[in-house]
């Protein structure tokens, strides 16, 4: 059979490759500009530095009440229960090097912002997005307190949440995620 490779001529090729940033006018002018308001409404991703966190605050005590109402049926009354497909949210420290490692917020998660992000994004199942901003802060505070990371009376807000040092912050390799195309690895896998 014939194989014609690289017959590809152009239009797109010229655009491909490289990370050159372009300030020029858009090549095609298809799509419409997004407004700030639209972006705010959609931008629910919270990075490790918490820049996207909306103003608000919460405490563990308030969080305990919300947890009992909206979370305990799946995660168990104390959050230490592992029920069905939900692993426990607490405990597990010192288990990571055993045959039966237990990955929890306290033993595994490197950033507290991830907890806030995920509660707002995905909890509770079926009612995603129904929690208010403050409720998310409350629940985050509750889980951090139950994991022994903050005190029961600490008030969590958009400023101090990104600063919380999670116990397993340095438990990941490489320290800074990166990707090199074609990097050599044993058997194609990283140990």
């Amino acid at each position: 059979m014939r194989c014609l490779a690289n017959l590809l001529v152009p239009a797109i090729m010229a655009l491909s490759g490289g990370l050159v940033t372009l300030a020029q006018t858009p090549p095609y002018n298809v799509g419409r500009p997004a407004t700030d308001q639209e972006i705010r409404a959609w931008d629910i991703a919270i990075g490790p530095e918490g820049e996207e966190l909306p103003p608000g605050s919460g405490t563990s005590k308030e969080g305990a009440k919300i947890y009992a109402q909206r979370c305990a049926s799946c995660h168990g009354p104390t959050a230490a229960e592992g029920k069905f497909i939900h692993g426990p949210l607490l405990g597990g420290r010192e288990t990571l090097t055993t045959l039966y490692p237990l990955k929890t917020l306290g033993s595994y998660w490197p950033f507290a912002t991830g907890i806030w992000d995920y509660i707002r994004r995905g909890m509770p199942p079926g009612g995603e997005g129904s929690l208010t901003t403050d409720e998310v802060y409350h629940l985050t505070a509750f889980l951090l307190y139950r994991n022994g990371i903050i005190k029961e009376t600490d008030v969590l807000n958009e400023k101090n949440l990104p600063k919380i040092q999670m116990p397993n912050r340095n438990g990941f390799v490489p320290a800074k995620p990166e990707w090199k195309p074609g990097e050599k690895r044993p058997h194609g896998l990283y140990p």
Binding site: R2, P181, G182
Partner: protein
């Protein structure tokens, strides 16, 4: 690193098959021993293809006279009383009426050519094969061998190719000379791989 630099590894996967290309007869034994030998009886039951010299025609016979009666019963509803009509019924695969079976001689180079058994078909054996294989439209395979001979004879007679009393059988049918036998190009169909044609089409 992207798609565009990708290289296709071109291999002749079918080394095996390619080595076989060409129509040379091979005397070697089978390579894979899959499939089982078909018996002669099985082959006879299935082999309904009739070639131009009629080797496969089964014993039997028929005349136009006999065929006329069968035609009236089983064919006229779609093809018309004489075979020369264009019936309004929309029954064929092309959605229109079946074309006429009779007539049309001399029209092929006109702007309204009429392709019929008499004006167009190159071998009489095709007629026998097709009647047995595909007719009647909604009950293919229900005609007896003699009925097929009779109908073939009838249509050849209607087209003025044989006489009314001529008996069509495995011996006589392949010898019938069809008027348009030489109306096809190339006379002996050939296919050559990679043949270039003017404008993608040869006139």
């Amino acid at each position: 690193m992207g798609w565009f630099t990708m290289h296709y590894y071109c291999r002749n996967l079918l080394v095996l098959t390619l080595a076989l290309t060409g129509a040379a007869a091979v005397a070697q034994g089978p390579a894979y021993q899959r499939g089982r030998n078909a018996t002669e009886e099985e082959i006879r039951a299935w082999d309904i293809s009739i070639g131009p010299d009629g080797k496969e025609l089964p014993p039997g016979s028929g005349t136009a006279t006999e065929g006329a009666q069968i035609y009236a019963q089983k064919c006229a509803a779609c093809h018309g009383k004489t075979g020369a009509e264009i019936h309004p019924a929309k029954l064929t695969h092309m959605g229109g009426a079946p074309g006429p079976l009779v007539g049309g001689v001399g029209t092929l180079s006109s702007s309204k050519p009429v392709k019929t058994v008499g004006s167009f078909w190159p071998y009489a054996t095709i007629l026998w094969d097709y009647i047995r294989r595909g007719m009647p439209e909604f009950r293919p395979g229900t005609l007896t061998v003699n009925e097929v001979y009779a109908l073939t004879a009838f249509l050849l007679f209607q087209n003025g190719i044989i006489k009314e009393k001529d008996v069509m059988d495995a011996n006589s049918l392949p010898k019938v000379q069809m008027p348009n036998r030489d109306g096809f190009v190339p006379p002996k169909p050939e296919w050559k791989p990679g043949m270039k044609r003017p404008l993608g089409y040869y006139p």
